[in-house]
Assembly symmetry: C2
Homo-oligomer: 254 residues x 2
DNA sequence: CGTTTTTATGTATGGTGTACGTAGTTTCTT
DNA sequence: AAGAAACTACGTACACCATACATAAAAACG
């Protein structure tokens, strides 16, 4: 991975090509590979052996082609990763059946959580700009709908959506471990914070930490059946409380 | 970077060594290198040229030693990265002067935001377990204090701390771009969500997105002077609203 | 038909992390 | 004092990585 050139127009055009699907000039031989095939193969590799196993060579052999042929369809590994991540994200959940905006948001968060749980390598994909793929944007759109419906205005809804995305991803990032967890008993969510270094905890230097550590992780599931673990559910619920209060205050005062 | 061995006890012991500082058996020649020197050199490299420039060879030449000599003090690049990240995190801010828990949390978030802004490569360090370094734990401890003081119990405080950490990091991750931003005009916060692909936005498929996109990013700073940008400040404030309501409800009812 | 464009392949370059062997240095044991 | 043992730094070597570039074949156009 050499230094990225990636002036912004460059990347923009590349992404555009990957959206529209790169119309071909119909002169040369018919391509036997496509961006979609390559991206799907990349997803297969990452699903099977993790992000660190995802190399150009590996994807190429997965498809039975030479390594360099990939570069006829994809400008480089970085872009391939973005496309693969978007493909792996898949379509967002349908929240039309939700009763209120709270449940819609919770369902959305639960779906994202489940997705990240089943594909932890998505958390390792380095993201260096706002979501740009069709699926990522669809997820964002589905989240914005209930937020707008709840009464948030544009900037607030955008901020809230960013907030929620960050919370789910961040919580998943340290709750679901991606590399070592697979080797251990698999599944169980790794006790939130700080189990390994407990013995070093100097009570004088980390009083709050030691106090909190005493409280055992209850491993409670959320009361509603949307699959949110407690660590995530509590924060999301408090946040939604705050959103509700905010719009209530505005609608009552003016 | 080959596959990681890292059974959990392994990593635990490695981390332990790096905490305690690896007592030497006093048999061989006195070492001229130390973990601290190496970590600081790594931080220097990352500060200067970004995470992708941080290689063992680069760190070694930075120190005027051979590449392989590093491995006498550090078991591998992954651990070096963790140590470097902890060193780069530095000590947490002192929140003793804050008036209430809200201001304390805001100050904390602002300090973290500023730190990530000045060292964006920290956002690229792959984190695969809970914070474990002394500085990281200190940051966590400082955040837990006001949360506990506000009236949260152990599990809630832990969840809230995780929530806030995730929010700041996640928001920074897509607001501060790390690789391409340095080349562009530098500084200005990249318009939150989705500027590049606006032309592809099909109104039928992304109605909420297009609606939100119309609302221009006001680029407002937060009202309080703690350096939080609006996108982050709004969410944090709503979250704190929710926390306040939560403890208020508990103290009044039980 | 030849020209032109596009695809797939092969080769080559400069980078990566790190396993391993060697030499030299210091301290502990005898 | 002499030897053994432990430890550090170094050099070499290997496997792998992304990708620049040249080559050859294939399809469509003039």
């Amino acid at each position: 991975m050499t230094a990225r050139q990636e002036k912004d127009p460059d990347l923009q055009r590349s992404l555009a090509l990957l959206w529209a699907g790169r119309r071909r000039g119909s002169r040369g031989p018919r391509p036997k590979l496509s961006v979609e095939q390559i991206a799907q193969a990349a997803v297969r590799v990452a699903d099977a052996d993790g992000l660190e196993a995802l190399s150009m060579q590996r994807v190429a052999t997965e498809l039975g082609f030479s390594t360099m042929s990939l570069y006829n369809h994809v400008p480089g590994k970085d872009l391939l990763l973005e496309v693969a991540a978007d493909v792996a994200a898949g379509p967002p959940p349908d929240l039309a059946g939700a009763e209120d905006f709270r449940q819609a948001v919770r369902l959305w968060a639960g779906a994202l959580w489940a997705g990240l749980r089943s594909r932890p390598w998505l958390l390792r994909v380095p993201l260096d700009h706002a979501p740009a793929g069709p699926n990522q944007l669809a997820w964002l759109d589905r989240l914005l709908r209930p937020l707008l419906a709840a009464g948030l205005v544009g900037g607030e809804a955008r901020s809230a959506a960013l907030h929620l995305t960050a919370v789910v991803r961040g919580t998943a990032q340290i709750s679901l471990s991606t590399s070592s967890e697979r080797k251990r008993a698999d599944g169980l969510p790794h006790a939130g914070l700080t189990h390994a270094v407990t013995e070093f905890l100097d009570e004088e230097e980390y009083p709050a930490l030691t106090a909190v550590h005493a409280a055992e992780t209850g491993d409670q599931q959320s009361p509603d059946g949307d699959g949110l673990p407690f660590e995530l559910s509590f924060g999301v619920d408090r946040f939604l409380d705050g959103i509700e209060g905010w719009v209530a205050a505005r609608t009552s005062s003016g």
